[in-house]
Symmetry: C2
Amino acid sequence: MSLPLDPPPLEALLGRGRATVGELFLARAERSAERPFLLFAGRTWSYGEARQEAERFAGWLLSRPSGGSAGLRVASFLPNRPEAIWALLGSTLAGAVYVPLNRAHRGPVLGDMIARAGAQVMITDLEGLELLPDLSATAVDAVLVVDGEPGPDSDFARRRSWQEVESSTPGAAPVSDPSALAEVLYTSGTTGRSKAVLLPHNYLVRNSSWVAWSLDLGEDDVIHAWLPLFHIAGQMDTVLCFIAAGGVVALQPTFSRSRFWDQVEGCGATCFIGFSNVIELIWGIERRESDAATSLRIGMVGGIPPKLHRDFEARFDVRLHDIYGMTEAEPLAFRHPGTEPPVGAAGQANPDFELAILGPRDERLPAGSEGQIAFRPRVPDVMLKGYEHDEAAFVEATRSLWFHTGDLGKLDDDGNLYFKDRAKHAIRRRGENISSFELERVLIGHERIAEAAAVGVPSPLGEDDVKVIVVPEQGAALDPVELWEWCQEQMAAFMVPRYIEISERLPRGPTGKVQKEELTQVSADLFDAERDRGKSRSATGAGR
Amino acid sequence: MSLPLDPPPLEALLGRGRATVGELFLARAERSAERPFLLFAGRTWSYGEARQEAERFAGWLLSRPSGGSAGLRVASFLPNRPEAIWALLGSTLAGAVYVPLNRAHRGPVLGDMIARAGAQVMITDLEGLELLPDLSATAVDAVLVVDGEPGPDSDFARRRSWQEVESSTPGAAPVSDPSALAEVLYTSGTTGRSKAVLLPHNYLVRNSSWVAWSLDLGEDDVIHAWLPLFHIAGQMDTVLCFIAAGGVVALQPTFSRSRFWDQVEGCGATCFIGFSNVIELIWGIERRESDAATSLRIGMVGGIPPKLHRDFEARFDVRLHDIYGMTEAEPLAFRHPGTEPPVGAAGQANPDFELAILGPRDERLPAGSEGQIAFRPRVPDVMLKGYEHDEAAFVEATRSLWFHTGDLGKLDDDGNLYFKDRAKHAIRRRGENISSFELERVLIGHERIAEAAAVGVPSPLGEDDVKVIVVPEQGAALDPVELWEWCQEQMAAFMVPRYIEISERLPRGPTGKVQKEELTQVSADLFDAERDRGKSRSATGAGR
């Protein structure tokens, strides 16, 4: 089957294959003004109403005393709620760059991201307000609080209430260049701190339209949208691809196994989404008579567990479609309409990308060989533009002019991609990538910790659990329980280690490098938060 | 015809497709020890003798009091002479990185390059010694003089005589990784100062072997090698590709129209090389009875003038083969054996590269359309690794993961590349790229110049002549003749402007940017060095 040159949903809506986020959204809002777009907490917004919300936020941004949209950046620090969508759409309508921050971050990692974001406007809720660091040394001049009166201004920035937005005159000053920067997203690598990924408008629009094409999404589709909206998958594979398709986003605050079926039935979801652990969690729900008679039609899953794939489909009468991607380029592989990827495969390449498997010297390996997954774009503005303030990392990632994903996998003769493993020393917990560098840096900030190393150990839910090994300062005492509690305050919940080992030294190689492979053992006497603190197992993230 | 996976000359010599410069040279020196390699000034070196010369230089490097080869960089500032070849080969045999500097540079541009090169060893001749800037703030700790006693040491670095090299014990400590850095070469762009291009061993070895394949070079071929050895073409398209083929390099100090045929006859050259102006210059030599009866078989030409192509071939009974490349990747297109590229075409892609023509948004254009020439490597380590200390420029050049050459051209249905023009505002004079930024910076260094702009104006010999427009400091007087003489001291001869205009201001656009397109007029009363100073027309450079 020959592939379309442009994503058909985008072609159908705009008559062209490149667009800005604003152009996509406004065209859809014209076309489907009366159709439902968003369901949340019992309320429904039509596409027309959503346009008003987004334009009011754009209008508020443009009428700020400190000026228009030139160079404007809007950061958000929000849980899943409608304002996160109005902020995304409204920022782009105002010609601003949107910088969504992971709501789970805490302490120094959060502070570092805010400092780097360079945003003049920060959007959060009352709970987030308490978590924000001192903003006095940042560019932030307005903190917009979405869920109540924010109280008196602090020294550093004027606190504003979302009510100002609701009473604003709708406005718009969108950029018209699809190659212009739309978003900055932070993603962890295996080394170094989180990188600031620069995403152009066309990346968001075109790739989400390919997802809609892949899944044959239409006006009657409804997605159970629990993935965090600050992640690339939450934005593209729920909100934006449903805008491209004209479907309905049933936004959920988070994933809940106990409420999953009630939520699905409540919104009539035809589509659900998640990573491998979500398949395990839904599979583990007690069997019901109605398992095969739900409204669900498809599941969009990053890494379907092969052993459950066909059984899951039979039990719930749904089709599971794998999808492979990352913040730098999402999606890279998925099902092509009319094909049936083999179990274990993520599907074939996004038509905008060439996939390759590279050997250790960057040589291209033949079909069937395992190596590093790499890609090149076939058209402009469908991948990141670069890492902000870290050109050297981008040059390294794009050596030989292949973008190196760091993931291991293979391609079969039909071009189906099999994801095998992440890069050595990468840590990924339930959909969240964790920078061991950042985690270690937080731990070393503890006054009684001299050295620290963080590693991933295989989790029974798939992906990793986090283990840390800490070396106390000379003569200092460290208690794992106390350290675990300290971590709750200092870092995102998904970064908080499950296992804590106190050690006299870290194993180091001849060059002084910590030998992390020697640290992944989990002995029975190790502190285990799940056993020792009853820490709950939850589905969390969504970013690759 | 299906293309070979590896360059046949390399495969024949080493049984593999990747190698270091040392591996290529030593394998050839074993195979062809008694065969002639180099002819210069009446003297001949066999491959075996050349190996001794190179190993003695490597031995000298390794026995330096300041230590071995780790991190060692060797810069040269030499005209064409055998020591430039021993320095190239010997540096790589010693595991050092070679940094050949353009011998034409002068003053501040030369000083900046030396400072950036980070070389501990500088090789030059007595004349070059006089041109070198103060080296006290650089890493240079030894200045090796190839043509005589260098006189007393200066404060900054120990001057050494090449006789030390000649009495050194041969040595070698080559790197074994073909992806390791072999050379740093400076090349100008259209904006900014010259970039330091990082070239791995495999780039030099593999690409020069492709050139040997393209031209079907063999042991009986002799090249009239006048191109400067500090340029990529001088190194790869003469020295290294003849080592790959086992042929003879008849090194010439420079190109001389009056002595061209005597030189060709003296060495029995089967091959000559140059850019478009060399075709014009040879064509302009008075016709001789023997024009069609010389030893020449082929000419390797960057940009054959189409109007002369077939006539030149008929008059001299040679075949002209176009070749297109640049310091960042050489060659990118050339004749494939068994094919006959159309007049005006450079040939088809080097088998290691994918060529594309990109539109203004980086979209790939169909065959026949004119746009920017871009490339991607098909195998690792065949292009530059990056620009040293300028990752941002490399990220910009490789946007969309295509390397943007800055050149304009088109591809036909058979994949033949037609070079059309250089990027806007690029200046290229007789094979030398000129950085307008660096030229302007030198001019602004003049105590009576407030502002300066440099542009290229079309030359009757092809490519450009240099025009500068200078604005005197308030109240200061400037005389074009005096300024032209000052330029001789301050910059490379190829940068010295032919046309000088004194103006009260530079035309600037709304953002303050100089509108260079308004400056390319040459009026009859303008200072013209060729008319007013009798400046000779010579063939110069060789780098793209």
